[in-house]
Amino acid sequence: MLDWIFSESFLMNVIAYAIPIVFAAYASLISNKAGISAINIEGAMSIAAVTGALVSHYANSWVIGLTAAVIAGILMMMLLALAALKLRADNFLSGIALNTFATGACLLIVKVVLDGRTDSSTAPSVKVPNVDIPLLSDIPVIGKAIFGQNLLFFIALIVLGLLILLINRTRLGVQIRTAGYHPEAGESVGVSIRRTRTIALIICGAMAGLGGAYLSMANLGYFSAGMVSGRGFIGIAAEAMGAGMPVKTTLFALLFGAVDYFAVGGQTVLSFPYELLNTLPYLMTLLALTIYAAAHNKKKG
């Protein structure tokens, strides 16, 4: 088992499994910073996954597919903005409703487009390419895992840098933090809280879009119903555990990615009932949501 954990492919796969969680965590991070909970990251990822898969197939271009996925993610978050910010519906209930909507909508889309199927394996996605950085990817053990990853891994790294810069060094970042910490103070000096939160949700939607696209356009070559399977929630939990700090959040997302891969990869290596291993990601989601709720309550009271 130790051989397996310290093999090159283990680290490679942990990162691969963590990427969607990382994006979900960033989505959660930016919306929470602005003081709005985007519990529908899960649903937005799934809509983005189906959009990316189908558009890339029919347009025969991963660039167009990826762009479409990002737009789909943003649109889902704009629905949340409409419900929770403009119409002042309950933040969480709107999110839950949008998640339920997304589950149904994804199935409907695939069924309509692909004549009654529940996955798009007959119309495979044009995949987002892997990047192989010469020389660096030849470093033993970590070389392939880090420098031979999918393009979206590098996008995630860039996003991390941009997020840190945005939050700490820009006017929008200050406004987003104000909207999260003390909205009245912002309003009192003419910072529109609704506008700020809407912008945060646009960024949040784009992140969810990238996460969803990774699942159907990089990890797997097609969309399959239920393929997000709680990664959106796990991302939210990773952000909660990272206490809204970008680097810490990324590390927790990686940890969750490791557990996720452990459950799948462990089945062939470990003499352990695979049924039990299969429960790991779900147990972790449960744990993660509990942690999230606890952190949320602590913040409130």
């Binding site: 810069l165 060094r169 820009t170 006017r171 970042g173 200050v174 406004q175 933090r177 104000t178 910490y181 003390h182 009245e184 103070a185 912002g186 009192s188 000096v189 003419g190 910072v191």
Partner: protein, 504 residues
């Protein structure tokens, strides 16, 4: 000195009919420190909110440097060089001082914030006005006095020439107050014009050049500080009030229904209640008078079990420390809270639901509500208390007066032995006032003890059998002969000009 600003004929009527300002006027000269004084509810804050654009006047005109202006929002006010320091600070605790100072008007270099420029600018302001604030400290880590400085810096960073401060010393210790005054004087010397809302006579005398006095929404006078003494000021502020006629039998005070012994409630800086002791008796209306923020609210919050305190509070013979509000109510206490919108009623519920909210769980059979009985009871209460509204009407549809009658109906129908009535007639129409007064007197005559908090002088004089005056968290006076006490005398105790030696 030239006239800088002039507000004329300002009337503010709210949607629910409450008149906050009526034909009020206000003017400022360049480079003065000007106080706006008056009792609670005199309309000072509303007038200043109008000046800052946070409220729109129903009628009236504002001109700045001789030109008429329309101040439609705080943003417009800011552009005109008017800034406001609220009593409740609008600071983001999690951000450093310099970002709070420049919140909304951040300095930038390209796309990124120019952190150093903001720190330098903040530091320059601090030095110019002698404010010892570290620009890089987190706001949340600062004590109240310094947080207030950040608010002032915020206003200065927006280049305000007219600075309004809403009761700036309410939260400060005496040393911090001294420091603030020093800084305000520097501001004045730098051609800023300062308005402070206050009701502390001492501060007006010490700091201000002129005082505008307001009473019942109107401007009753503008005086130069050097021309008047504290005595004269307090008379102007209090005025002479009409004593409403309330028929009541001579008082027959019975056993003690509530008692506070050396009760202290800590505050930031000085305590909000400072070792206060008093008793309330059955068959008597005891009025706790005082200018807002002098401790009478905390006394009520102690008695009703809402806040922690040290010392001893007994309600109907039992020590209430650690008892839930429900337990305290079960002893026989009824409470008409100050704010009927948030505490007195549930705005989402119907009249019936509001009426049964305190005891519906005691009117059940096999776990089901005795709805017939409760409905009949609610109908009767609505009839008895002359509420204009049906049982099923959402309470939010009612006028302030009728809403208050629902609260009074619910509380007084509990056969209480002690009623705590906090501003029971604030914002209520004349008819409802008389009715609520009658009901309170009726209960008193039946031997119930009543503790009344009121900012309305005429209410105090028409109802009280005994008055305890609070000043700065202590009892400044106890008046037993209400009949032969004048408003002016009460006003002097409330404003701290005089205190009764034997009171504490």
């Amino acid at each position: 000195m030239s006239e800088l600003l002039c507000m004329k004929g300002i009337t503010k009527r709210y949607g629910n009919g409450v008149l906050a300002n009526e034909d009020a006027s206000f003017s400022l000269r360049e480079g003065e420190i000007h106080a706006i004084a008056g009792e609670n509810g005199a309309g000072k804050s509303t007038l200043m909110k109008i000046l800052f654009g946070a409220e729109q006047p129903t009628e009236g005109t504002i001109s700045l440097r001789g030109k008429p202006v329309k101040i439609s929002s705080p943003r417009v006010a800011t552009e005109l060089g008017i800034g406001m320091v609220y009593q409740h600070f609008m600071l983001v605790d999690e951000l450093p001082v310099y970002l709070n100072v420049f919140l909304g008007v951040e300095k930038r270099k390209g796309l990124l914030l120019d952190k150093q420029a903001m720190i330098d600018a903040t530091r320059a302001l601090c030095e110019k006005y002698d404010m010892p604030v570290d620009p890089t400290a987190l706001c949340g880590d600062l004590p109240v006095g310094l947080r207030q400085k950040v608010e002032i810096l915020k206003v200065l960073a927006r280049e305000a020439k007219i600075i309004i401060l809403d009761e700036p010393t309410a939260v400060l210790t005496p040393q911090e107050t001294e420091q603030l005054f020093h800084q305000l004087r520097i501001l004045r010397d730098n051609k800023h014009t300062i308005v402070i809302i206050t009701h502390k006579l001492k501060e007006m005398k010490e700091l201000c050049d002129r005082i505008t006095i307001m009473r019942q929404g109107k401007t009753v006078g503008v005086v130069d500080v050097c021309d008047v003494d504290e005595q004269k000021l307090s008379e102007l502020m209090v005025g002479s009030t009409v004593r409403l006629k309330v028929e009541k039998a001579p008082v027959r005070a019975g056993e003690v229904v509530a008692e506070m012994k050396k009760v202290t409630v800590p505050g930031s800086g000085k305590p909000k209640l400072d070792s206060v002791s008093f008793v309330a008796r059955a068959g008597e209306i005891l009025c706790l008078a005082g200018v807002e923020g002098n401790g009478q609210q905390q006394a009520i919050e102690c008695l009703t079990g809402q806040i922690a305190y040290s010392g001893s509070v007994q309600v109907l013979g039992e020590e209430i420390l650690g008892k839930s509000i429900r337990k305290i109510r079960d002893l026989g206490m009824a409470h008409i809270p100050e704010d009927r919108m948030t505490m007195g009623t549930d705005q989402r519920a119907s009249l019936h639901e509001n009426l049964i909210s305190v005891d519906f769980d005691r009117n059940t059979r096999l776990g089901f509500l005795k709805s017939k009985h409760l409905k009949a009871r609610s109908e009767k209460q609505l009839k008895d208390f002359l509420v204009k509204g049906e049982r099923q009407t959402p309470i939010s549809m009612l006028s302030g007066g009728n809403m208050q009658k629902v609260v009074v109906a619910r509380e007084l129908s509990q056969q209480p032995r002690l009623v705590i009535a906090n501003q029971p007639t604030r914002g209520v129409d004349v008819g409802a006032i008389a009715f609520i007064h009658e009901k309170l007197v009726e209960l008193r005559d039946q031997g119930c003890g009543i503790i009344l908090v009121s900012a309305d002088m005429s209410e105090v004089f028409s109802l009280a059998d005994r008055i305890i005056v609070f000043h700065e968290g202590k009892i400044a006076a106890e008046i037993t002969d209400v009949e032969n006490t004048t408003e002016q005398q009460l006003g002097r105790y409330m404003l701290g000009v005089e205190r009764m030696e034997a009171a504490q």
